[in-house]
Amino acid sequence: MSCEAPALSLHAVGRRYAPYRRPAQRLAHFLRPRRTPPGAFWALRGITLDIHRGESVAVLGRNGAGKSTLLQLIAGVLPPTEGELLIRGRVAPLLELGAGFDPEFTGRENIILASILVGIPPSEARRRADAILDFAELADVAAGPLKHYSSGMVARLGFAVATEWLPDILLVDETLAVGDAGFQARCADRIDAHLRRGVTLLYVSHDPASARRLCARGLLLRAGRLSFDGPLPDAAAAYDAVAALPDRPREDGANPPEGSLAESRRSSYPLP
């Protein structure tokens, strides 16, 4: 096992955001890729790390530190601006539950659509649809269009379908709070069951206490840089020290304020 290739391997990964004033400027940038657009800033830079199969890793950091950008890069939603990611196996991002759903379609049809997207053939998805609906406690509304669901129902369905097919790497955002206490307990059970089967977990958090239950290793992101990588208690201590300080300005001097672009792209789950 020791010589096994890592499940996730990042090499000098960076992501730059540029505030294009008009979409056409992005097109011009394709033609002159070496010219840095004005006002560009690095949300994440120089991230190099390996995560082995079965590891549970907490990603700590303040608002705007680059946590969500990191997960979006791994999920394949955002392309990196520099560097390289190697990902072994299927990634299940629990970042924006139900974001890809179609409001005009029924719950059952959306299950099939979401399953197709992770490579499950429709016949298999149809067979599992009832189990997914049962888990999401939506069996009685499965035939109605999604636009008539409450946001909590959509999130429950999103969680149920995203975790139904055993992934290799699970990306979880701490703001993942779906449904009532009973449903949350079942979500936690299911994630635990996945972890027992050797699924790799990345858990994004503001709060080291919530990460302790799941993770042994912690990464600390600070202003887009990886400032600590090690055992979770040490990472948590480093985070507590950082959290008390004012934010370090970014190297390119374009440090975005709290709630900046990087952060506004983070998921915000509709809570019931």
């Binding site: 096994e4 960076g14 955001y17 540029a18 294009y20 979409p23 056409a24 992005r26 097109l27 940038h29 394709f30 199969r53 890069l73 999920a75 394949g76 939603v77 955002l78 392309p79 990196p80 601006t81 520099e82 560097g83 390289e84 990611l85 190697l86 990902i87 072994r88 196996g89 299927r90 990634v91 991002p93 970042l95 924006e96 974001a99 890809g100 179609d102 005009e104 379609f105 099939i112 659509l113 197709i116 997207l117 053939p121 429709p122 599992r128 189990a131 049962d134 888990f135 139904e164 097919w165 055993l166 992934p167 290799d168 299911r190 069951a193 089967r197 050797g198 699924v199 792209r265």
Partner: protein
């Protein structure tokens, strides 16, 4: 699935995560052109996402006609309406006539002596309009294919390049309905059935490839340049009147013919009428060339889309 087997509740797969799981490599460098322009890679991608394309196409068809009282009848209603207007203008007001009668060398089952000049004109124009209409529908829908789905473009992993083939797929039933009406009109008004109809797939191949090429190109451009759809509307007018839809190609003055042959729809409309109505073979060499050009265009458009896709999250 023996009932006695112990089961972990609510988990679909009992198998462990694969140690030999496929490796995805995501780099900042764009995909090399050698890979992008390899037809096998495009075909593999189309095949991989075939279920998604079918699902999206079915959804598109469904929402397009959902809530309409006539439902799928609109598939035929629209071309029939334009046919009526254009026949009135060109055949009745301007007195355009189609060259009389079918050529003698056509392979047709014929049971009527001759058709009225008006019916002759109507059937020919209708067939042309059906073929042009398919292209026009795809091209008009293309600019907002990605633009109107911001959540797919920047919040979930989604193969956006599937939207264009799905769009093409969703208009194929409309095309099929139009061709069926053409055949019916040909039988009813001209008393003929074309025996070269089996060549129809070869005539439709370049049409579908052209539509796919434009769908990929326009859907990527539409994200960055929001005025693309106005250009498309104007361009479609141009294509309609420079393709031999309302007039036979032979009526075009010799000097203008090479110019009109540049319109990608010209060989399609001409060839389509030959196999649907006249029982003639499409001219082999020009048609083969057209198909090759269309395939090359589709390949290039796909490559451009994949390259452009990286920029979508920046502007949506």
């Amino acid at each position: 699935m023996t009932p006695s087997a112990p089961q972990t509740p609510a988990l679909a797969s009992e198998k462990e995560p694969r140690p030999d799981a496929p490796v995805a490599r995501i780099t900042a460098r764009p995909v090399p052109l050698a890979v992008l322009l390899d037809p096998r890679s495009v075909l593999a991608s189309l095949w991989r996402w075939r279920h998604l394309a079918i699902h999206l196409a079915w959804r598109d068809l469904n929402t397009r006609y959902r809530g309409n009282h006539l439902g799928l009848l609109w598939l035929l209603g629209q071309p029939l309406l334009s046919l009526t207007v254009f026949t009135f203008v060109f055949a009745d007001v301007l007195g355009v006539r189609w060259p009389p009668g079918a050529p003698a060398d056509g392979h047709v089952l014929a049971w009527a002596a001759s058709a009225s000049p008006r019916a002759e004109y109507a059937v020919h124009v209708f067939t042309g309009l059906v073929l042009y209409g398919f292209f026009a529908d795809v091209a008009s829908a293309a600019p907002h294919l990605v633009l109107w789905r911001p959540t797919l473009a920047r919040r979930v992993p989604f193969p956006l390049e599937t939207l264009a083939p799905a769009c093409v797929l969703s208009w194929l039933p409309v095309l099929a309905a139009g061709v069926a009406v053409s055949l019916a009109a040909n039988a009813l008004f001209r008393g003929q059935f074309s025996l070269t109809l089996w060549l129809l797939p070869f005539v439709l191949a370049p049409l579908i490839l052209f539509a796919l090429a434009f769908a990929w190109t326009l859907s990527a451009l539409g994200v960055f340049l929001r005025d693309v759809r106005f250009v498309v509307a104007a361009g479609l007018q141009l294509l309609l009147f420079t393709a031999p839809v309302f007039y036979p190609f032979e009526r075009v003055p010799e000097a203008y013919r090479p110019l009109l042959a540049l319109n990608p729809l010209t060989p399609v409309v001409e060839g389509g009428r030959r196999v649907i109505l006249e029982g003639l073979f499409p001219p082999l060499v020009p048609f083969g060339l057209t198909t090759l050009v269309a395939a090359a265009l589709a390949l290039t458009a796909h490559a451009a889309f994949i390259r452009a896709k990286r920029g979508f999250p920046d502007v949506m």
